[in-house]
Symmetry: C2
């Protein structure tokens, strides 16, 4: 049905080997042969079947990326960066969504086992170190966005602890002393680290806060709303809030606004990740920016070099974050 390399060879009056050589720009092929082959390819509208090529070469030129959700601009931007780096190397990115459940994530890793992809990047994985290490023994994988304690595998993240520290410091430097934090119960290392950095900043500044200023729970919008509702009903209200994610910060702003509290002047709020909507929100949201596209490009490049150059880089790379102050902190 479909035109194959054989058809081209026959029509061009050469062997399949010659066609293959022209296709791959390899070895010595006479100018005449090259010309006739190229013309025939065009005439027959031939496109090489990658299944044959890939089976023969034992590669797919596909990289899998697993993301917990498809609706987070952080991931979108990272994938965008990956795609950029992948395209340069002739690779394609396959994406899938795990919904943050290990079962789905594991199932999607089948693509690694059945050779549908040459490697995988896990964004915000929920797998444990042991699973990841076993995986890394036989396949090329990398973590991005979210590290895993004890995982000995290529990892590209920001320094979340430092990010949390810097966020808190930016509030402290504005004179705030009554600072609350909206954190999560999640064991995600990034959350934990951001929280840790926050407390380190407070300690360094000689500020101690009561437990009432600490609200933990889910990672979703409602959690941010509830936290803020509680903070603002306290006798001694905080003057600033650090939310470990922008979604939580947006929720906090919404709730504060609904309660008649002017965010920016009466209450400073800063989030984390610098998602796209930070600049669109009312007020605009201060945040800690991850260099997403760069992280995507970087992790992809490193992974590809592990795949192709036989390097086996399992380093832990930390990229620079940037505290970006906007209206929600009165800037």
């Amino acid at each position: 049905m479909s035109v194959t390399i054989k058809d081209v060879a026959k029509a061009a009056g050469v062997s399949v080997a010659t066609v293959s050589r022209v296709l791959n720009g390899s070895a010595n092929v006479s100018e005449a042969a090259t010309k006739v082959v190229n013309e025939t390819i065009k005439a027959l509208n031939y496109s090489p079947n990658f299944l044959g090529r890939n089976l023969r070469k034992c590669v797919t030129n596909n990289i899998l990326v697993i993301q917990p959700s498809s609706e987070h601009s952080l991931y979108s931007k990272i994938i965008s960066g990956m795609q950029e780096a992948a395209a340069v190397a002739g690779y394609d990115i396959i994406t899938s969504i795990s919904n943050g459940t290990p079962e789905i994530e594991n199932r999607q890793l089948n693509m690694l086992y059945n050779r549908t992809v040459d490697g995988a990047v896990l964004l915000g994985t929920v797998l444990d170190a042991e699973t990841i290490n076993t995986l890394a023994e036989n396949y090329h994988i990398a973590l991005c966005c979210e590290g895993v304690e004890g995982a000995d595998v290529l990892t590209v993240i920001v320094d979340d602890e430092k990010g949390g520290y810097d966020a808190a410091m930016s509030l402290i430097n504005k004179g705030h002393r009554k600072i609350a934090i909206i954190a999560t119960d999640s064991k995600a290392i990034s959350s934990v680290q951001r929280e840790k950095g926050f407390f380190r900043a407070l300690e360094e500044a000689g500020i101690s806060i009561s437990d009432e200023y600490i609200y933990k729970g889910d990672y979703d919008y409602d959690h941010g709303v509830n936290a803020t509702k509680k903070f603002l009903s306290l006798e001694d209200k905080p003057t600033a809030i650090f939310a470990v994610s922008d979604l939580l910060a947006a929720a906090a702003i919404k709730q504060a606004t609904d309660m008649g509290v002017k965010v920016g002047s009466e209450l400073a709020i800063i989030g984390f990740d610098n998602i796209t909507w930070c600049e669109r929100f009312i007020p605009t949201i201060s945040s800690v920016a991850q260099p997403c596209e760069e992280m995507g490009r970087f992790v992809c490049k490193k992974l590809l070099s592990n795949i192709n150059d036989g390097t086996n880089d399992k380093s832990y790379y930390t990229m620079e974050h940037v505290v970006t102050l906007r209206q929600s902190t009165g800037d």
Copy 2:
């Protein structure tokens, strides 16, 4: 290096055919053979190489989806729905981003030519009808979100004209007579249709608006800001605005708010698409909701049946939209 079906056959003391049969649950295999094969598979930690299988079967079980941008929750949700339907049928979704340029989109269609994928869904394509029709002759493709005039291919969209009409009607029903529209110069059929529906509603209601109430331009945030700035500086200000997308509506709200105009009470604003941030924005944004997940599931199912059942459904399916009123229209 990797363990193959041959290794399993040898270790299990059967032929590769038997292993293959067990693998595919096909034909008659004795219980004893099934058992020993399965045990051997587990023991050797064997996973079939899909490259071999796919080459043999001439399928990949991959569907390509091309999206203009990865940062639009509309697309994310549609893809999520597609992924759901694909998984059921044993297919995977490969995504790529075109940035809305025909060159990139065309390049990504290579995956169709080189048999990396069995079919493709184009979200908000920028290709013309001729290109699409030629493509459809040889490959399984579908359009979603954005139709193309003259394209004879499986298409799944909402009735944008009716959506625009309903959005305008919801404003008219609230008593608004001075209604402005933020539209785009883009030739995207969805935009044009939404605008058309808007004017039909006005005409039916016997409302005629001056050209000053019509602002056209790009599709981005700044466009919404500029449009609103102009509207609100008019002698005779509009009391309501219809924006052909939620991003434009959000921008309009931001600008109005910055100019001290109370959105909801003094100025009603409604958008289109019902993106996730509509419910998070301050105020929450009224919009016309597309049934994204359902559209994704539907288009995927139809495409898969074209691929596998030999049907060749080129219908134009229209899904039901829902006008969702929130604070930005005073609800």
